[in-house]
Amino acid sequence: MENYDVIVVGAGPGGSIAARESAKKGLKTIFFERGRKPGEKNSSGCGLGPRMWRDFDFMTELTPEDCPSLRPGAAARNYLVNNDGEVSGYLMTKPTDSVTYEPARSWITMNCYRSEFDPWLAKYATDAGAVLKTSTLVTGLLKENGKVSGVIDEKGNKYSGLVIGADGAISMVARESGLRQRWEQEQVTIVPQYDFECPPSKIDDVMGDEALAVWWSATFPAAYQVFFNDGFHIGLGNWMTWWEKNPMHYLNQVVALKYFQRQIRILEAKPREFQVHLLPWQGQPHDTHADNVILIGDAGGFPCPLEAEGIYPAMVTARAAIETAVEAISAADVSKEFLNLYDAKWRATSVGEEFKTGPELASIWKALPFSPLKTMSWFVPMLMEIIGGIFDWSEPHAVRVRQIARRVKQYLPNAIPFIMREVIPLLTAILGEENMNLLTDPEKLIAAMPELEEAIARSFVENDMEEK
């Protein structure tokens, strides 16, 4: 038996930060990775969020020498794919004037491969004094009188200490500690992705600083595209039981888009690797700890409820877990009750703030990009009608406006319930009920809706001739 204060299972972003913070606090720390090195089992989009730079000072030390794949995602394209599987428009966005700090004003994400990033991060932990064991699978939890006391690895070596489960979406620690056998089917997604290689100069010329893209679609769940120095990822995800056909059917639909095919031709891009990974995606983390056990990052279900950014939340929950561990160890009390402190601590962070509106955010994502047939099939044409319809020379502009309004009216029976069920509850959660009532009372709105619809209908009736 080897004795440690803290044992971390997994050397992803969560595990490495936990190991680093723990060692820095003077705790005797070991962390395990089943891969030959950190990062070789992981797949991500992979865009790093700017909050990592704001909240972890060493992030400014990340350079292209450490991670040759680095490329800032300074701007994002939003493609809108219609019911016929064609790109019917796109919108480019950049960080806006309301963004308050650097580097968030300069880029949306910093992109790099996990095979480079994870080992770089793990070095901060080993430099701080934590012991890293690679090529080592942790197979079980040690128990004394029914309570977890440490871990056991595949060779039968035993280690005692407080256990941090940083072992990702399919977490042995969650399973063996009795916290969770598996996720509910709508708490976790499967995300297959292709990596393409292409010459850096092509990406510079063709994409410029638009190194991110989302393909919003009426025919497949929203796909993301992330550009690195010499390649890009294209992938998509959805909840486990929301796939009518094999996930590859939908990913290959993206690849088969004429627009996408043209893009890979001009980028001279070639498929290089295929990856698939599960990604927890839920409105509210729960069952985050047990006696002598704390789950962080994906193991605890912490990716952002709207867009599933998960690397920053893994790092933040790692820090909260170690702050908790320090107090627990000095109080000589690692009971579940004492470790409730962990929930209080992560809830006080930026991640906790996100989950205050977690259920509403998860619900709107579920209703929009994860529901291509049900929602995107009217949302995409409606949006494109509004954006694309005005700048059109087919009729005098006043006639065009009436034509567009009549067309949009057809989408209202879908759009209004959507606004009521998804947008209003989200706004209420964000603004608070009192402020929301000032803005508008949902009940009043619902009552007024039929009249409004009628008014819109009537005002365009006399112009119906224009349609013919």
Partner: protein, 91 residues
Amino acid sequence: MSLKIDHKKLIMRIPGTGNFITLDNEKCTLCGRCLIICVMNLWKKSDDRVHLVDDYASHCLECGACYQVCESGAIDFRYPAGGTGIVYAKG
């Protein structure tokens, strides 16, 4: 000409995993979820019996999706031995 990708050729693995997925046909309800979800198509159904292909260990990407969707508990999944199995160089 449109590019079609054979994703099964785009993977790199280190052999020596041993067995790490098991199926208990007694518990299987034939719900078919594992067949839909596995991106490597390693689950098959014949004569009203589900099975995992013989050489699954040389194709499996260790995603755990089959384990996650099987609510009857027929599928057990553990990661393969440390230092073996799938390697993502560009993950």
